[in-house]
Amino acid sequence: MRMIPGWPVHTRGLLADNKGPWGPSGGETPSEGEKAPPPSGPSSPWASPGTFTPGGGNRQIGGLDDLIARSRARFGGGGGGNGGAGIGRRPPSGSLIAWFVGAFVLLWLIFTSIHSIAPEERGVVTQFGRYSRTLGPGVSFTLPSPIERVRKVDVENIRNIDLGSVSSETLMLTGDQNVIDIAYSVRWNVRDPELFLFELQNPEQTIQQVAESAMRAALSATTLNEAIGEGRADIEARVQENMQTVLNAYRSGVVIQGVAIKQADPPAAVNDAFKAVSAAQQAAQSDINQARAYALQLRQLSQGEATAFDKVYEQYRLSPDVTRRRMYYETMERVLQSVDKTIVEAPGVTPYLPLQQTRPPAAALQDPPAQGTATQGAGR
């Protein structure tokens, strides 16, 4: 705020000299409008955009009015020559026009020579169209508009270009002549704002075309299986590298920060066949698992049985006969306990055995034959 009074007054003096050429060219400011300062507005405290109408009523306007009044007093006192006389003759209208023109020129000077550059931006200054310097973040001063212009470029912001979408098919050919449906995105930002502004006609479209080209080249060097499987990271790296090389060759001033493959799938038309492969893989794996389970089980079982036999055999060797008989009787005991028994006294007797029918009343039939045999046995 402190330094402003000196500044405009100074430029005002400058203006008095060059009134001819620069005054009317102020009328061109609308076309200068694309040049950023007025709309995006210096957020500095001494001026706010849209205060071209003096009735703005802002606090700052008061300050400006004072300032103009002061400089007008000085102007009126000093430059009595031609203008003073004209104004003096028709005080109301003449002074009003001078006022408007003065205020307009002042505002225009302020807007076009003070630039506040955001931390993520760089200001590329051109002097009569020729590149002169690049401004860093912060408030910077340049010569007013037709002489020097500033174009702000966002260099930190990482921009994103999406190529192919997950919802629709973007088909590309792989090296083994298969078709892949791919969606990917490219992240980039500006490294050299001046190259970015001055070297390419259409930087964003260029980046997109280069991305497509690099992706196609990378895919044509891999197989489908690699592309849908573990080869993705490799492809991403290759695309990034390739893009950077090409964009450097174009002197684009762009850095590719990364390439991300969001989707790499077989096309929908053959997707079922691919699913069948993974189903087959599952099936094969489960076959193998079952076999492993069987093997494990069988091994344990055989070892168990062998060990059991070994134990018994050890005992058997100590007293073979007794063990053998004991085992025989014990087994037979258990067997005969649980079966229906019929003892037939031998030759000549052919027992009638309706085997199928005896089953239901088995319990009832159990006794008589047993008794029979018992008597027969006893009778012997």
């Binding site: 031609n82 298969n178 001055f198 080249a217 070892q303 003892i343």
Partner: protein, 285 residues
């Protein structure tokens, strides 16, 4: 001054005229453009002409002066521009078709030549577009299909670039780069047959995976069987006679006791049975 006060309107007209003349005698040449000054239709001089390797900000851009109403300024882009080719059908030597989409990047390096041969850089682009297409078709058409997929490797793109560059030089234009953006199978039968091939290849793969799995499973089982047999033989082989007896006892147990629980067995015994030996001979030996 006295004239100005007496004839204000004339003064304003004269001032405006002066101003207009002054303004139209000075132009700002930006970094992105080359300015060709044409005097009565005859090219006279060039401001901010492209020179290879010149850094940005080097003398060139800046103010350009001209004589009003005599000199005309023709603006010509200094930046790298692109020509996006129409899709092109390429027939490979093995009679397969491929749809190719390519782009070329160029820069006007000789504004004067460009101006006399094409008038504007857009028209240069229009002129180059079909040439790029035919160069691409000619170059790629000399290759088998498999090579078309990665023409970068065989230097095809560099060939196209250099040949296109030769033609472009006639327009004062330098071709910086030619690249294939897309290479696709045409819709319809070529794409369909590619799908069929992919599908059958997958089916084959699926079957072989299944078969491989079955094979491995069988081997695992057989190995286990063999190992079990070995374990059994090592153990039971110590006394085959006793094993015979031992196993028989186990078999009886399992058959009649464990296996006969829900379906009792009928057993008809003869008194001569070994089990009934004591039973019949009354305890005598």
């Amino acid at each position: 001054m006295s004239f100005a006060t007496r004839r204000p309107i004339a003064t304003i007209v004269v001032a405006l005229l002066l101003l207009f003349t002054l303004l139209s005698s000075v132009s700002i040449v930006p970094e992105t453009r080359q300015a060709l000054i044409v005097r009565f239709g005859k090219p006279d001089r060039i401001y901010n002409r492209y020179k290879p390797g010149q850094p940005i900000g080097a003398p060139g851009a800046g103010l350009a002066f001209r004589i009003p109403f005599v000199d005309d300024i023709v603006w010509i882009d200094k930046r790298v521009r692109d020509v996006d080719m129409d899709r092109q059908m390429v027939l490979s030597t093995d009679q397969l078709r491929l749809e190719v989409d390519a782009f070329a990047r160029y820069r006007v390096v000789d504004p004067l030549r460009m101006y006399v041969s094409a008038r504007s850089e857009d028209r240069v682009g229009e002129a180059l577009r079909p040439i790029l297409g035919s160069e691409l078709r000619n170059e790629l058409g000399r290759r088998p299909f498999a090579d078309l997929l990665s023409p970068e490797r065989q230097g095809a793109m560099e060939n196209i670039r250099s040949r296109l560059d030769k033609i472009a030089r006639q327009y004062g234009v330098q071709i910086i780069d030619v690249r294939i953006k897309r290479a696709d199978l045409p819709d319809g039968s070529p794409l369909q047959s590619a799908y069929d091939r992919m599908r059958t290849a997958r089916e084959q793969e699926a079957r072989s995976i299944r078969a491989e799995g079955a094979k491995q499973a069988q081997i695992i089982r057989a190995e286990a069987d063999a190992q079990a047999a070995q374990t059994y033989a090592a153990s039971f082989g110590k006394d085959p006679v006793f094993y015979d007896f031992y196993r028989a006892m186990q078999a009886y147990q399992r058959t009649f006791v464990d296996g006969g629980k829900d379906r009792p067995t009928n057993l008809i015994l003869s008194p001569q049975n070994e089990f009934l030996r004591q039973f019949t001979n009354g305890g005598g030996r």
